[in-house]
């Protein structure tokens, strides 16, 4: 489906959805509350069938976090980018590892580097950093005088 058609379909599924203009693919903004049910519909709806989650990451915008999910469909070959704004002091969001199995390890990585809590994740613990590391390295306010060298 083309961008316009996707826009119409999404507004049908969720009337409070917001779109972002510009960008190669359709960018969609959701709130954490409506997030999980929308993602399930993305995968299950026969005209959408977004079965391939190929990128899951987070961006630290200093005032808030944004979770970014890049999805595509191997059947219809359309793309969508789902973004969710999270509160910086208490970043929490539902896990999608039940919908796409690849999210298990990807979410662990985001938790490890940003400190975002994924609710109902089967095994949320540090992945890349040592198990007893303090702090969330990829945050913009992360200071580490020992390991970081500022140019």
């Amino acid at each position: 489906m083309l961008k316009e058609e996707l826009k119409i379909k999404f507004t049908q599924l969720l009337s409070t959805i917001e779109f972002e203009e510009g960008g190669e693919w359709l960018n969609v903004y959701l709130t954490p509350a409506e997030f999980k049910s929308f993602m399930v519909q993305l995968r299950d709806d026969p005209s959408l069938e977004f079965d391939y989650l190929f990128c899951l990451t987070a961006v630290d915008w200093k005032t808030h976090f944004t979770m970014v999910y890049h999805l595509t469909s191997t059947i219809h070959r359309h793309h969508v980018v789902v973004k969710v704004k999270l509160d910086r002091n208490n970043p929490e969001i539902e896990t999608v590892s039940g919908i796409w199995r690849t999210a298990e390890m990807l979410e662990r990585e985001v938790y490890d580097l940003f400190g975002i809590q994924f609710l109902n994740h089967p095994d949320l613990r540090r992945l890349i950093m040592p198990d007893d590391w303090n702090g969330w390295p990829l945050r913009k306010d992360y200071e580490d005088p020992v390991n970081m060298i500022r140019l």
């Binding site: 190669e24 079965d51 391939y52 199995r101 390890m105 990807l106 089967p122 950093m129």
Partner: protein, 371 residues
């Protein structure tokens, strides 16, 4: 639905495979829970070669960060650089000259062949056949020698820059590549005779490490791992970049989804790569090898995503830019990361020997996973 994580029961053996181990290609630490010889749980512990490339790139300029990326998946370093260069060009809306595009694709395919050669040799060695390793490295040496003359390096070649390639080809390049093509075609039969047709080898690879079509998509597998289960996911065909839409080659898929299918997919991909190189080597147009770009690059505010097909699968470069000279956030979607997440699913219930066979066919390069 989410699986319940098994708990260790009385009589289970928990052993560590790695991080220093002859079979894990790099520093991968797997914690295996065994019941006798049967695997009950595989848990990868990553991070032994985590160099925080993503954080580093936030303080490097758009010309500088490409050098760091060759070290991610060092076996397809050209392709990594290509991906970053393409993403930056997407942001700058720069048109790459034809000559540079041809050179890039030829270098990419030669890198793919070299990477698959090393995979083949290392995998045969894991299974106990020591001789194919030397055959594989003989071919790989020829390729790295060719690359060394043009790019100046044998492993981490920082050759592709935003706008094109860094320097023009060496005058001997075409001649050497042509003689390599002749040599390679005769060697291919050797590989099939030595390893593929061997009954011991086939017994160790067939029906081992099965992953179905649905699971391959759900686990985010890409590259030969997914194609062996029947998923059509070759980025070169679906979303072609540079001149891949003008070249004739087949997308190799198998349906069996086991280790043997992954093996055959990679072998046939080597053949397709040499076919691409053969088509292009005589057609390199004259012209600029690099588009004119400013000395200091600034991407406009926005987000840019570029997907390429490395030897391992789909590499994604996601740049979030705030209009400065350095990226605000870079994310590298690494193919090995998602392929590794499928490992436990593949080997549950099999024996340790099968773990080695399945892991070999996943073709993991750990720096790619840890970044």
């Amino acid at each position: 639905m989410v699986e319940e994580i098994g708990t260790t029961t009385e009589g289970d053996l928990v052993i560590n495979v790695g991080p220093q181990h002859p079979a894990t290609h790099g520093v991968l630490h797997l914690v295996l829970t065994l019941n006798g010889e049967t695997i009950k749980k595989v848990e990868p512990h990553l991070g032994y070669i985590h160099r925080s490339i993503e954080k580093m790139c936030e303080s490097l300029s758009y010309r500088q960060f490409i050098y760091v990326t060759s070290r991610m998946d060092y076996l397809s370093s050209h392709i990594n650089n290509h991906a970053c260069a393409l993403c930056v060009e997407k942001g700058l809306q720069v048109e790459v000259p034809q000559r540079a595009q041809y050179i890039r694709v030829i270098m990419d395919e030669l890198t793919r062949i070299a990477s698959h050669e090393l995979w083949w040799g290392a995998m045969a060695m894991d299974l106990g056949a020591f001789t194919p390793f030397f055959h594989a490295f003989r071919e790989r040496e020829t390729i790295t020698d060719i690359m060394e003359k043009t790019c100046g390096a044998r492993l981490t070649m920082n050759y592709m820059v935003p706008g094109g390639v860094m320097v023009d080809l060496h005058p001997d390049f075409q001649k050497e590549v042509k003689s390599f093509i002749q040599l390679y075609k005769s060697k291919f039969e050797e590989y099939n005779e030595l390893v593929t047709g061997n009954i011991i080898f086939q017994n160790r690879m067939k029906t081992i490490g099965f992953i179905s079509y649905q699971d391959a998509i759900s686990y985010g597998c890409s590259g030969p791992v997914a194609r062996a289960s029947g998923v059509h996911c070759d980025i070169r065909k679906l979303y072609p970049y540079d001149i891949y839409d003008k070249v004739e080659f087949d997308e190799i898929t198998e349906t069996a989804g086991d280790s043997y299918a992954r093996y055959i997919v990679r072998l046939k991909e080597m053949q397709q790569s040499i076919r691409i190189v053969e088509q292009l080597i005589d057609q390199i147009p004259e012209g600029d090898f690099q588009a004119k770009t400013k000395a200091v690059l600034k991407l406009p505010k926005g987000e840019f995503y570029q997907r390429v097909e490395t030897a391992r699968g789909e590499l994604g470069v996601y740049i979030v830019s705030e209009g400065a000279t350095t990226p605000y956030r870079i994310k590298f979607r690494s193919p090995g990361f998602s392929n590794l997440s499928a490992l436990e699913h593949m080997v549950k219930g099999l024996k340790i020997g099968d773990l080695v066979a399945a892991m070999g066919t996943l073709d993991l390069v750990i720096p790619d996973i840890d970044r």
